[in-house]
């Protein structure tokens, strides 16, 4: 299992692996918003938490189709399916690799982009905490979408269509934490819901994703 994680991380960080594209996309998105809504702090501050969450979500979406598509093309997926590692484990490891190469950089970059959007300083810790808890669910749900669309020729667009509605609960609670944190309110309830969703997704979705992969390998 460790070998698979190491390989996926090596592949993502080497030339052509697309590492850092997500953060660059996130940056562009956050830079475009003020052009759309105006540069005033009063315009940016109320929407900063929402923009940061939606931006992180879209940036995460960008690299989802790489989770399985490349391994499917070169036959690695067939070989992994015959390996002693259960397919559910393979899915979980690949989602973890996606989170480390996409989710973690986004979390690291988010406070900087928060400054660009005038996010109140008091909300920063909540932004970090909510992303840290929420993004693993995004990667795992993305792996499910990638598993469903792995054999399709025009899978990329369909993948977004299937995965984005699944992101709604995570987005609602994640952004709510930051909003309440910015206002100094209690964040315990949305935090618990967000953690519950992530825990449930991490526990159950690998099975659905592995089932979809098995269908696509037939």
């Amino acid at each position: 299992m460790l070998a698979l994680l190491k390989r996926d991380l090596a592949l993502a960080t080497r030339a052509g692996g697309g590492f850092g594209l997500g953060v660059a996309f996130f940056l562009i998105l956050c830079a475009l918003v003020p052009f759309g809504v105006g540069p005033e702090t009063s315009a940016l501050r109320p929407i900063a938490s929402g923009i940061l969450w939606v931006g992180a979500l879209l940036a995460c979406l960008l690299s989802l189709d790489r989770i399985f598509a490349l391994d499917h093309e070169d036959g690695s997926l067939d070989l992994l399916a015959t390996a002693p590692l259960p397919l559910e484990g393979t899915v979980a490891i690949k989602a973890l690799a996606h989170w480390i190469t996409t989710g973690l950089p986004l979390i690291a970059a988010a406070p900087v982009f928060g400054l660009l959007l005038h996010l109140p300083a008091g909300a920063m810790p909540w932004l970090l905490a909510s992303l840290l808890i929420g993004t693993p669910a995004l990667s795992m749900l993305g792996a499910f979408g990638a598993a469903i669309t792995v054999g399709l020729r025009r899978g990329g667009l369909l993948l977004s269509l299937l995965v984005l509605p699944l992101y709604i609960p995570t987005l609602i609670f994640g952004a709510e934490i930051v909003r309440r944190g910015a206002e100094g309110g209690s964040t315990a309830t949305p935090m618990l819901f967000l953690a519950g969703i992530t825990a449930g997704v991490l526990a159950l979705v690998p099975f659905a994703a592995a089932a979809a992969l098995r269908v696509n390998l037939r």
Binding site: L2, A3, L4, K6, R7, A10, L11, R14, A15, G16, G17, D71, E73, D74, G75, S76, D78, L79, L80, A81, T82, A83, P84, L85, L217, R218
Partner: protein, 209 residues
């Protein structure tokens, strides 16, 4: 004691039964070559034995984690070196030293090259070296000699014979003579599935025909 026993197997491709009533067994040290016209279902049968798709009917008796499968795609990553590729598969399959496998496929001098820089034949050899590091007794091979030159084919034949000598077995689909005189041949042409009312349809195309 056989490594693999197949009883009355039927496999489906595209929702239709391809071949049916196939039975054979492989004991340690034996090799079986599948023959038959294009589209008869050799690949489907091999994938079914490898566990990548469920059989429509019949039984496959096989120890768990016994199969090493190799098909047209070698599962290589161009960004990784030959050693890294092989070491990865060795780790996944719980194998050990990759040195002998590199030597057997004459890849030792290429060990540090990125896989992307290899020729088609060299990639194929690396893909077959993967079989050696899996340490699995039953090799299931789908056209293993594609893009290999005569010398490499002979080298691969030797590798298979060595594998059989160590108590392994091989099930393969190939049109090329690997120089394995002891291998049995099974022609699938006689097992082509017949249309007709089936007890359990293999897929939509049978359920609605």
């Amino acid at each position: 004691m056989s490594l693999l026993a197949v009883h009355d197997l039927a496999v489906a491709r595209g929702g239709l039964r391809a071949v049916e009533g196939v039975s054979f067994s492989l004991a340690p040290g034996q090799a079986l070559i599948l023959r038959g016209p294009n589209g008869i279902g050799k690949t489907t049968l091999l994938r079914t034995v490898a566990g990548l798709q469920p059989p429509v009917a019949g039984r496959i008796e096989l120890a768990e984690d016994a199969v090493a499968y190799a098909a047209h795609a070698d599962g290589l990553k161009g960004a990784l070196s030959v050693t890294e590729n092989l070491r990865f598969w060795a780790a996944v399959f719980g194998g050990g030293d990759i040195g002998p496998a590199l030597a057997a496929m004459d890849l030792t001098h290429l060990a540090d090259r990125p896989a992307a820089a290899l020729s088609a034949g060299q990639k194929r050899r690396l893909g077959l070296a993967r079989l050696l590091v899996t340490r699995r007794p039953l090799w299931v091979l789908d056209e293993p000699t594609v893009s290999l030159d005569a010398e490499s084919v002979a080298r691969f034949g030797t590798a298979i014979r060595a594998h059989l000598g160590q108590g392994g077995a091989a099930l393969m689909a190939t049109h090329i003579d690997l120089g394995l005189a002891e291998a049995r041949v099974l022609d699938l042409a006689g097992y082509r599935a017949k249309a007709g009312q089936q007890v359990r349809p293999a897929g939509f195309n049978e359920a609605f025909a």
